[in-house]
Point group: C2
Chain length 239, copies 2
């Protein structure tokens, strides 16, 4: 696997307390798989400066891309921009272009562009803004770290504007076979087949839905001919 790699960092007490169920990881995973970037790790940390700094540092040196969600709003617990700046050794200030975007947005809405809202224009120096078509307050990319909002529809719209700028490898293809047999029944020959195709990834996922008990066997790889070849073998084994 020589595709570029990525990590996600979900930032927010509300995920770890069980108040909110994260959905951005699943969305990011699907989008990256589609464009041939391998999501290799994800972390969730609380809204604490040092924890965010440590995670951003660890992930940004280990992976091609890092994507963060959460903590870029106007309230006191929104500390992601400052923590990412600290992690990457950048200074941070109220950026004039972000200030102008937000000023125009709140002028149109007839709302005061107060000190709290101005916090959302705090962007690390040297970062590139990420467009927010939903609520204007921008995300940013600093080095290989893409900083985005936690609210799902804003996260998704920011990601949509980032994806075209990323260079992926060949997309990871996936085929699956659904069997009404337990994993233990098929594990031996399935493992032997996986060993014959070291360039592919083969996984087995048991299910138990509406009284049906069985296993989904999944074959993933970037070479369509190899995936087809393995799938044919799999179907002969168990079909």
């Amino acid at each position: 696997m020589t595709n570029p790699t990525a990590a996600m960092l979900v930032i927010g007490d509300e995920i770890l307390s069980g108040r909110t169920r994260d959905s951005n990881l699943h969305h990011l995973a699907q989008e990256l798989t589609r464009i041939g970037i391998t999501l290799t790790e994800a972390r969730v940390v609380a809204d604490q400066h040092d924890r965010i700094v440590d995670a951003v540092r660890a992930l940004s040196v280990s992976f091609t891309h890092v994507f963060t969600s959460g903590g870029i709003g106007p309230t006191h617990d929104d500390i992601t921009a400052d923590a990412v700046a600290a992690a990457m050794g950048a200074t941070i200030s109220h950026r004039p272009d972000a200030m102008a975007l937000l000023q125009a947005h709140y002028d149109r809405a007839g709302l005061p562009f107060n000190e709290a809202r101005q916090r959302m224009a705090r962007i690390p120096d040297g970062a590139h803004l990420i467009d927010n078509p939903v609520s204007t307050a921008p995300g940013f990319r600093l080095g290989n770290v893409h900083v985005m909002a936690g609210v799902p529809n804003i996260f998704e719209s920011m990601l949509a504007s980032v994806l075209p700028s990323l260079t992926g490898g060949p997309p990871l293809l996936s085929q699956s076979l659904r069997l009404l047999r337990g994993e233990g029944d098929i594990a031996g020959p399935f493992g032997a087949l996986a060993a014959e195709f070291p360039d592919l990834s083969m996984g087995s996922y048991p299910f138990n839905q509406q009284g049906a008990h069985g296993t989904n066997l999944v074959i993933r790889g970037i070479d369509p001919a190899r995936v087809d070849e393995a799938m044919l073998r799999l179907t002969r084994l168990f079909g």
Copy 2:
């Protein structure tokens, strides 16, 4: 916050490829919050030995408890038990009590207790088994690492049998106020209130549902009197 801490480690390619949406983190977060254990970090890693070993080592030295999900089935990609043993410096073998449990289970089902199924009795030496009332194959606790299945109903049933053995602190209480106002409107006074109550955690979560745009303000803490006092102040500010 002096409550015990915890981390979760989700193990599985299928989460990172976007094939499967994890739900165990959310369940664990809610259960731990209820019993006064602070879930402080979560990680998701692929089914790769070294990545699991590194994550288990890092988390087990940093937190009171670690909970893992995934990778304890009978197939070749189920490598969690061996990786956890390696991370904790334990040997691993087919444990007689786990073998006996599984043998009896497959005898009752009239299914062969083959080599693949016997893999599920590989348990690190010195571990305590975790009961699996759904499908028998046990989880285990080794040191402070609780190893459980990834299938949600099995994860949940294993966790239910683990929770009574854990000593939590006072449960984290939470009260919230739903406002039809933007975060930027309330951020200033809300931040000032949070600064007056450093023993509490205050968070702000914007929502945009069915045309209603607003903010949920949440106050969390372990002292009911302090949470009530802060909530009263909050209601006076914005109610």
